[in-house]
Subunit: 269 residues, 2 copies
């Protein structure tokens, strides 16, 4: 683990990441020592820092540290955290605060390997996402909504829970973005009021557009989920997981989901 470039597993209590969740994070797949889509993750991190008025540590130093920590990792997960840094008590930000960066490497859960092929079962979470356009899209450190949602199920048969916003729109999974396919149109929830704008989500939209697949990013309802022909979720570690069950609804792993998975594989190579 690297804390501001030094091997350490500790941070100061006064760090605003600990005090207030005042920071951002990125989670990346690592394959053969390489963090996948690193530059895209760093670009999202940079833009997130800009929106929260956190000093961005810089892509050069983060890349150098990412490469250093991924050495000898054949298959792993890299987590990058950037917080506003240590400060005095209170929400107010002092001018002389310096951002904290933490890079850590984690094992990849082995049981997940089959899910891109078998598909997954999902449920609807009771816990909802608050609406806040200032925070929408950001992968920030305020994650209690996801934690409360994740507490809702314990069965190993369920791999993900889907979450609504406080108005009842379907937004995303607790740890993934959501896609629906209906009559050849690829749909994904609008994330301008809440949710995390994932790197793989952006890539899926890119490859779909590049391959002339009709796309709609819009408000999605439970009815849309019911009527969908294909459903899948995405994130940087899992890639694409086809959804074969959502509460009482069942889906096939369809041809467009397979094609999108193939387009993504080609992009990564």
């Amino acid at each position: 683990m690297l804390v501001n470039g030094n091997e350490s597993e500790l941070i100061p209590v006064s760090d605003r990441g600990f005090q207030y969740g005042d920071g951002l994070f990125e989670t990346l797949a690592v394959e053969n020592e390489a963090p996948i889509f690193l530059s895209r993750h760093l670009e999202r991190l940079r833009r997130g820092c800009e929106r929260l008025a956190i000093e961005y540590p810089g892509s050069d130093i983060l890349t150098e540290e990412a490469v250093r920590i991924c050495k000898t990792s054949r298959s792993a997960i890299l987590k990058i955290i950037v917080t506003r840094g240590s400060g005095s008590r209170g929400f107010r930000i002092s001018r002389d605060v310096t951002a904290t960066r933490v890079l850590s490497i984690h094992p990849r859960p082995a049981f997940q390997i089959d899910f891109p092929i078998t598909g997954i079962h999902t449920i609807l979470c009771k816990n909802r996402l608050g609406i806040n356009s200032s925070l929408a899209g950001l992968k920030h450190l305020n994650r209690l909504e996801q934690i409360l949602a994740r507490i809702e199920w314990d069965s190993p048969r369920i791999q993900e829970g889907l979450m609504l916003d406080s108005d009842g729109n379907v937004i995303e999974g607790t740890m993934s973005n959501l896609f629906l396919i209906r009559r050849g149109v690829l749909m994904s929830p609008d994330l301008s009021r809440c949710g995390v704008a994932g790197i793989i989500r952006a890539l899926v939209l890119e490859v779909a557009q590049g391959n002339k697949l009709p796309i709609q990013v819009k408000s999605i309802t439970i009815d849309d989920l019911e009527r969908a022909d294909e459903v899948f979720v995405t994130n940087s570690v899992i890639g694409v997981w086809p959804v074969i069950g959502f509460d009482r609804f069942h889906y096939e792993i369809g041809p467009l989901t397979r094609r999108i998975m193939q387009w993504l594989d080609e992009r990564q190579e």
Copy 2:
């Protein structure tokens, strides 16, 4: 500073307080070595832990540590943080996790001493509070909404910013609860959908009820603020600050605000 009872200023990066803001906190005034209203704060903390399914460390140990850390402090601020503890990556909670407790003591800002007498100026923040009844009332560690709101002003003439929820209801200040008085009725925003249910707020409602003052806890609008005869904010460190300015509105420090301040003083003695 005490981390799990030991003098330390460091916590593990793996602490879920740092990873996700997965915890709660309390801020108390300390006078002559005594944390004020400690048992009420610990009771709120216990109930908060219950709601988030965090193991409560226990009032005996927290009281012992609070007394220990407040030794020699004539006038100070005590902050108590309880997080879910250290865990593996991911939102899911492992069964064997043990809560982390951190107690720290901080100086009291000297410039605030006059505000109970002079009153304060406030503004309306553009940043709003997301609605989430699962988190409403809790003093949890997900505080980005308050931080973004606090960034909105820098003038030392402004002491607090008032925040609306995403539906436009007036909820609270960035660090305080809000009260309005109109024609002899004490009003405070309903906090069942967002906001922090403060210890002093509960006390104000108690003493008002004990003294037969009519009370309304309900949805509050900007119009209610415009029509109010008296306005004040509360928290455990500041006590009561009368509001004399809110954007273009001006208020007198009224007789009922003064009476409530007196009732509170009597309760503390």
